[in-house]
Subunit: 307 residues, 2 copies
């Protein structure tokens, strides 16, 4: 099938065409240039929500609960579960998809686990392009789920229109969350598994660490803390309301456009750097690396020689 | 103090000079070019061990136990705790340093938490340069500790001479470990907290997932699984023995040089890409990002225009 037909079918929302386009992203296909050129005028309509948090806080369950809520509101939903899995496992693991099986037969939902490890440019390269595909395919809401412990993963989550940071009681002290670097990026915070012991303490600690009690400049966004039990659907309506409130605030303060321009800038920069990286001559690099490893040359001088 | 004097003092192993040089790395100082040129002939002597694993497996405790063991063997030890913390916390958190306080007064140990979030080029840029500083300062063993859940963090750990992957019983099923992408990078595996229920099951599951029961080509390295209770010092001698065995195997099979050349190549490439990225014109990028955000331009064409 030619790229034009594939894009046309994806635009109509056909799941197989969407799947094939995202597979091209995973494979870093040279055809993506053509794909992205055709997709560009179709993009910019989706509301992109990033969800992140340590393993075990219930990201997939929360994502699934949000899918349900948005589907009930009649929205078309795309889910991108960015899975830091490995060549070892031969691609994304089934875990997320299994948990998402409630929605497997709903044509208004497109769910995709995407593996990017070992990928040229990694997450930063692949995630925005997969989002473009879902956007062009008519998804009104795109939920991007990443494990919030790595630098790249947190950066991807932070580039959404609205970033949701999830915590759960008993997941370790606040220092662990702060170490994960996810405390400053949330627009909305969720304490999931709120029926467990310690949920109030976690919310209080979070409130304290975020300095939510402190004075803020007028008009500044004040990240809410929402308590949920995603597995039972509790608090999900409140979460959706918090997301909508943030979106409305962004619209009102011209933040949505600014965020999207910033996201595009990041995307362009990553593509430019990847292109430049591909032009690096392997034989020259090897020779220089040998000299650096033997201490005959410093890495900066080697980098200059490479350029 | 001029750079020459600082490097000379670091070479003598003076902790304050070492600290100042690593601070230059954290700050991505332009003076690093000069620093690295002076350090180059002093490097290549340290044995670099990467330690990684999910939060809570006991990485800091294990690192501390290894420091103790290597100090007893009379080796000078450097520790680099790569901390994915944030501008929010204003730098690396105290957690690691607190746990390391046993060694705080030992002049044969240099311990440093390094924060790289928000850093141009991030971990991949900063970690190798900090390792160079410790190497030049006469550390015979350098332990690099990273949280093994993010792409960048795992990549840094995988670039050591020997990579240690830590697990603990009850940290979730094997799928969580596989999702973290750390299962394929270990030269040595550790099941820490081995006095807890489920330690044997974790080791068995790991053995199964790694396919250690399967036939391997002659001469191939077979990653051992070592059980430890790092907090009590149990199994630490066995871990050190496993590390030494891996190092000897690498020497015998010419792997050590190969790994170091590969590491240098990665380092050079990252520096080259960072240099190219710095040359990108901000105003041009902003204009292009606006067009991409509005769907008027695709990101590939924008990247080409940027280059």
């Amino acid at each position: 099938m030619d790229i034009g037909t594939l894009v046309e079918q994806a635009r109509e929302g056909r799941p197989r065409a969407v799947a094939r386009l995202i597979s091209l992203v995973e494979a870093a296909s040279p055809q993506l240039r053509e794909v992205m050129a055709l997709l560009a005028p179709l993009t910019g309509n989706a509301y992109v929500v990033g969800l992140t948090g340590s393993p075990g806080v219930g990201k997939s369950t929360s994502t699934s609960a949000l899918v349900k809520a948005y589907r009930q509101a009649g929205k078309r939903v795309g889910v991108l579960a960015v899975d830091p899995s490995s060549p070892f496992s031969g691609g994304a693991l089934l875990g997320d998809r299994v948990r998402m099986q409630d929605h497997a037969t709903d044509p208004g939902v497109y769910i995709r686990s995407m593996a990017t490890r070992g990928h040229l440019g990694g997450l930063a390269w692949a995630a925005p392009q997969a989002i473009r595909v879902l956007d062009a395919a008519g998804c009104e809401v795109i939920l991007v789920e990443t494990v919030g412990v790595g630098q790249s993963e947190v950066e991807v989550a932070a580039q959404a229109d609205t970033t949701v940071v999830l915590l759960a009681p008993g997941m370790g002290d606040g220092i662990q969350a702060a170490k994960a670097g996810i405390l400053e990026i949330g627009d909305v915070y969720v304490v999931n598994k709120a029926d467990r012991d310690g949920a109030d303490a976690t919310a209080r600690e979070l409130n304290h660490m975020l300095g939510l009690g402190e004075a803020r400049s007028a008009g500044a966004w004040r990240p809410p803390i929402v308590k949920t039990v995603a597995a039972k659907g509790q608090g999900v309506d409140e979460l959706v309301a918090a997301l909508e409130k943030h979106r409305a605030w962004m619209d009102e303060h011209d933040q949505l456009t600014q965020r999207r321009v910033r996201r595009a800038a990041q995307e362009i920069q990553t593509l430019a750097v990847t292109t430049l990286r591909q032009r690096i001559d392997a034989a020259t690099l090897d020779a220089l690396a040998g000299q650096v490893a033997r201490g005959e040359l410093d890495p900066y001088t080697a980098a200059d020689a490479l350029i």
